[in-house]
Assembly symmetry: C2
Homo-oligomer: 111 residues x 2
DNA sequence: TCACGTATTTCTACAGTGTAGAAATACGGA
DNA sequence: TCCGTATTTCTACACTGTAGAAATACGTGA
């Protein structure tokens, strides 16, 4: 795709879940958010690789949890959306809604 | 992706363009519709391969133009959306809007 | 009738996305 | 020290996104 600035369908979903979870979002909570809102079940691997790709493009950033956190298991990696990610979300939305324009009321399509 | 019933981002755009053009849509008009509405330029090859894939999934169907059509060039192939395509569009819309829920008014994201 | 221009589809190729599942990591507690 | 638990990381592969070149086919003017 030659590094276009368009989001893939699942990338958009992951980005939105990240925003919905907000402060302190990490892999597991992002997955839960997607499953709860969309009713669609996704593997944790799918979430992480998408998050990684989004990070490579500068749409999200991540940091490891403070090491003093008292809990078991591997350290969490917290994610947050970056400005570029917000812009990409904005563009996706604009494009899709301009494509929908005028069709919303058609009972045969989309609703 | 193991044949999930989810549409890719570009598949959704092509499907919507098809509906917008309506009766007598074919490759070139679908492309024009996408370019006009989204402001995004796409190659004709991209449109056709997406249309082909959608057809294989049963989301659209096509038929060759009547041979008596008086015009030059290769015969047109007209496309139309199928019920399954309308349903897929519907599902995409539902999922994305449930992911957006509550964020529409946030000035930092998406608008 | 034949070379041409034009309209359109088809083919090919490859980078990027979607996705699952298994493996690795790391820590607190018995 | 071993174990269970929480979480990330790795790996692999099918599918999607995309461009561009090639093929096809017909009407027309010479």
């Amino acid at each position: 795709m030659t590094r276009s600035s368009y989001l893939g369908a699942f990338e958009e979903i992951v980005l939105l879940a990240l925003v919905q979870v907000g402060e302190g979002a990490y892999g597991m909570t992002v997955r839960r958010e997607i499953e709860e809102r969309s009713g669609r079940s996704v593997s944790i691997g799918a979430v992480y690789s998408t998050l990684d790709r989004l990070e490579r493009k500068g749409y999200v950033s991540s940091r490891l949890a403070d090491p003093d956190a008292v809990r078991r298991g591997r350290a969490r990696r917290y994610f947050q959306i970056e400005q570029a990610g917000e812009e990409a979300l904005h563009r996706s939305r604009e494009v899709v809604s301009s494509m929908w324009e005028g069709l919303e009321t058609r009972p045969d399509v989309g609703r």
